[in-house]
C-alpha cells in the first residue's frame, strides 16, 4: 500500500522544520514516521530530532572492535614470542610486558578504528544504489529535502503541507 514517494525541496532548515512540525500536528493516520527522511547538504541535529528518536549504534561497534583488536593482538604477540623457538634477547624475559603493552595499545586502536568504519557503513546503509531512492542534486547544493513514503491519500495531504511552506519543487514517484 505504501507505494508512493514524495520529495519536497525547501530553501532552508526553518521552512523544512516548519513543514515537519505541521506534518506532526496533522497526525495523518497512515503515516509511518520511520518513512520520513530529511536530505540535506549539512547535518542539523535539532531538525533531525523532530523526526523522533533514532538510535546510533556506532559506539557498540567501536567497543567490540577495540576489545577484539587489543585482545587478539596481545594473544597473538605473546604466543608468537613464546613459540618462536623461545629466543632469549638482551637479558629480557621472553614475553616482556613493555613491548607487548605498546603493541596491544596499537592493535586496540587499529581494531577500534576499522570496526567503527565498518559500523558506520552498516548503520548508514552505505554503499547504496541511488536509483532505489528519490534524490535531487540540489540537496548537495543548498536546498533541504523532506521525503515521505506512504500511500496515495497521505501523499496528497503531504503535498498540501509542503505547498503551504513555500516548497521550491516537488518530486513524486511510484515505488515498485
Amino acid at each position: 500500500m505504501n507505494n508512493k514517494r514524495i520529495l519536497g525541496l525547501f530553501n532552508d532548515f526553518d521552512q523544512a522544520s516548519a513543514a515537519i512540525r505541521e506534518l506532526r500536528g496533522a497526525d495523518l493516520p497512515h503515516l509511518d514516521w520511520n518513512e520520513v527522511t530529511i536530505k540535506s547538504p549539512i547535518e542539523h541535529p535539532d531538525v533531525e530530532s523532530l523526526l523522533g528518536v533514532r538510535s546510533i549504534p556506532i559506539r557498540k561497534y567501536t567497543l567490540l572492535g577495540a576489545l577484539l583488536g587489543g585482545g587478539l593482538g596481545f594473544l597473538g604477540i605473546a604466543t608468537a614470542q613464546g613459540n618462536f623457538f623461545q629466543q632469549l634477547k638482551g637479558g629480557k624475559p621472553i614475553i616482556p610486558f613493555p613491548p607487548d603493552f605498546v603493541l596491544t595499545y596499537e592493535m586496540f586502536i587499529l581494531g577500534g578504528v576499522y570496526i567503527t568504519v565498518l559500523g558506520f557503513l552498516i548503520s548508514a546503509g552505505l554503499p547504496t544504489r541511488m536509483k532505489s531512492d528519490l534524490y535531487n542534486v540540489a540537496v548537495s547544493g543548498d536546498q533541504i529535502g523532506v521525503m515521505v513514503k506512504s500511500n496515495a491519500h497521505c501523499v496528497d495531504a503531504v503535498r498540501g503541507i509542503f505547498e503551504r511552506h513555500h516548497v521550491l519543487s516537488i518530486q513524486e514517484e511510484v515505488v515498485k
Binding site: K39, S40, F84, K92, L103, E106, I109, V113, F120, G125
Partner: protein
C-alpha cells in the same frame, strides 16, 4: 559585540552562499592548465633524481651513502622522522581541533589530512631505502610461514612498523570517510568518467538524516582514536632512540619532545601549503587571513612547547650524572656539526618569535619564508639527534670519525620532496581540497550566532 565588524577580521563571511562554496571549490578540480603540468613535471624530475640515487645504492650497496662504523644511520632515518613528524598536522587540525569545536579548522583541515597521508607514504620510502636488504623487508611483517618465524616484537623498529601501518590506514580511512559528502557533491556536478569515479567513491551518499546521524558519531569516534594514536606513533618513533642506551638518545623526555616537534613541523607545513593553495586556487574567501593568523599563533604556542622540551633536555643532561652524555651534548655545540646544531636552535626557538607580530602574520610572503625556515629547523633537529651521537658515543675508538652524508643521501632526501609534491598535486585535482560541507556548516552556524547576537 559590535555588530558592524570589518570583513577582514572574520574567519569567514557569513553571507557566503552555499552554491558559491560549491562552485568555488569544484572549480579547483577542473582540468588543469599548463602551469600545473609544468609543476608536476618538475616534481617528477625531482623524484627521478632520488630514484636514480636509490637505484645506484640498491645495486652497489649502502656504502655509497658514506655511512660507516659507527655512523650506521644517516639522513635516511633523520628524514624518515621528519616526514612522520609532518604527518601530525592533519591529526592536530582534523581531530584535536574538531573535538574542541574550533570551527576555523573547517576550510583547511582537508588538505592537512591529505598532507598527513602523503607524509606517511613518503616516510615509508625511507624505511625501504635505509635497509641493507630491502628486498627482504617483508621479514618485518608478522605473516604466518612454515617455519613459524615471527618478527622481534621487542624491537622499537618493529613497533614503528605496526604503529605507522595503523596510523597510515586510519588516516586514509578518516580522510576518505570525512570526504564522502564532498564526493557526493562532486558526483552530482560532474560528467563523464568523473561522474562514475566520484559516484563510486561517494557510495551512494544522499545526505539523509540516517546517514548524517551515523556519520557525525563515527567521525567523532575516529577523531577520538586518532589523537592517542598520533601521540603514540611519534612516541614509538622516539623510542627508537630513547630505548637504546646511546648517550644523547637515552633520554626519557624524548617521546613528548618528538611529538611536540612533530606538531611544530606539521603546523609550519600547513602554513606553507595554505599560502600556496590560497593563491593557486583563489581560495581567498575560505583560507582567510584570520585563519592564517590563528594557525600562526598555534604554531608559536607549539614552538614554545618544543623550545621548553628542547632546553629541558639540555638541562637534565647538564645537571645529570652521566659524563658521556654531557660530553656528547658539548660536542653537538662545539664539534663538527655545531653550525647545524646552532642553526636548529635558532630556527626552532628564536625565529618563531617573529610570529608575535601581527604585521608578520598578515604578510603572506613573510609567512611563506618563515614556515619553510621553521621546517628546515625541524629537519636539522632530526639530523642533529641522529648523527652527533654516533660521532661521540661511549667508545673512544669511535671518536674523530668524521661523517658527512654523501651526494647519494642528499639526492634521495631531495627526491622525497618530489614524491610528496607529486602525490599532493594529484590529490588537489582529484579530491576537493576544501571541505565543502564543513564550510557550509561553518557559515550556517556563524550566521545563526550573528543573528542571535544581534537579537540579544
Amino acid at each position: 559585540m559590535n555588530s558592524v565588524t570589518q570583513a577582514k577580521d572574520k574567519d569567514i563571511r557569513e553571507d557566503l552562499s552555499w552554491s558559491q562554496i560549491n562552485r568555488d571549490v569544484l572549480a579547483s578540480l577542473e582540468r588543469p592548465r599548463a602551469t600545473y603540468w609544468v609543476l608536476f613535471a618538475l616534481a617528477f624530475a625531482v623524484f627521478l633524481v632520488g630514484l636514480g640515487c636509490e637505484a645506484y645504492q640498491y645495486d652497489t650497496g649502502l656504502g655509497v651513502s658514506g655511512m660507516n662504523n659507527p655512523d650506521v644511520w644517516g639522513l635516511y632515518i633523520a628524514t624518515f622522522i621528519f616526514w612522520i613528524g609532518m604527518s601530525h598536522s592533519g591529526t592536530l587540525l582534523s581531530a584535536i581541533l574538531h573535538i574542541i569545536h574550533a570551527d576555523w579548522r573547517k576550510p583547511i583541515y582537508r588538505f592537512a589530512e591529505a598532507m598527513t597521508t602523503f607524509s606517511l607514504m613518503t616516510a615509508g620510502l625511507f624505511v625501504a631505502v635505509h635497509l641493507g636488504r630491502l628486498w627482504e623487508i617483508y621479514y618485518a611483517l608478522p605473516y604466518p610461514n612454515e617455519r613459524w618465524t615471527w618478527p622481534n616484537f621487542q624491537s622499537p623498529l618493529l613497533w614503528d612498523a605496526m604503529a605507522i601501518f595503523t596510523y597510515l590506514s586510519s588516516s586514509i580511512l578518516f580522510l576518505y570517510v570525512g570526504a564522502i559528502p564532498d564526493f557526493a557533491i562532486c558526483r552530482d556536478y560532474a560528467t563523464g568518467w568523473r561522474k562514475t569515479f566520484y559516484g563510486k567513491l561517494a557510495l551512494g551518499w544522499m545526505g539523509t538524516d540516517r546517514q548524517w546521524r551515523n556519520f557525525r558519531v563515527s567521525y567523532l569516534v575516529i577523531a577520538c582514536f586518532l589523537i592517542p594514536l598520533a601521540v603514540s606513533v611519534h612516541s614509538i618513533v622516539a623510542s627508537d632512540f630513547a630505548m637504546s642506551q646511546q648517550p644523547g638518545w637515552h633520554i626519557t623526555s624524548f617521546p613528548p619532545y618528538f611529538v611536540a616537534g612533530a606538531l611544530y613541523s606539521g603546523c609550519a607545513a600547513i602554513i606553507t601549503l595554505f599560502i600556496i593553495l590560497r593563491h593557486v586556487f583563489r581560495f581567498e574567501e575560505y583560507m582567510t587571513l584570520p585563519i592564517l593568523d590563528k594557525t600562526a599563533r598555534l604554531t608559536f604556542a607549539i614552538a614554545m612547547v618544543w623550545t621548553y622540551l628542547n632546553c629541558i633536555e639540555y638541562a637534565t643532561v647538564w645537571y645529570g650524572d652521566s659524563e658521556v652524555a654531557k660530553e656528547t651534548l658539548m660536542q653537538r655545540a662545539t664539534g663538527p656539526y655545531s653550525v647545524y646544531w646552532w642553526a636548529m636552535n635558532f630556527l626552532g626557538s628564536v625565529l618563531p618569535f617573529t610570529l608575535i607580530f601581527k604585521k608578520v602574520r598578515a604578510n603572506l610572503s613573510a609567512m611563506m619564508v618563515i614556515s619553510l625556515l621553521l621546517n628546515l629547523g625541524m629537519w636539522l633537529e632530526r639530523w642533529m639527534i641522529v648523527t652527533p651521537t654516533f660521532s661521540h658515543g661511549y667508545y673512544p675508538w669511535t671518536w674523530n670519525h668524521s661523517f658527512f652524508p654523501s651526494l647519494v643521501q642528499w639526492g634521495i632526501v631531495f627526491g622525497s620532496f618530489g614524491w610528496f609534491g607529486m602525490l599532493f598535486m594529484l590529490f588537489c585535482k582529484l579530491v576537493p581540497s576544501v571541505s565543502m560541507y564543513e564550510v557550509k556548516e561553518m557559515v550556517f552556524h556563524r550566521k545563526l550566532a550573528r543573528l542571535h547576537a544581534s537579537q540579544a
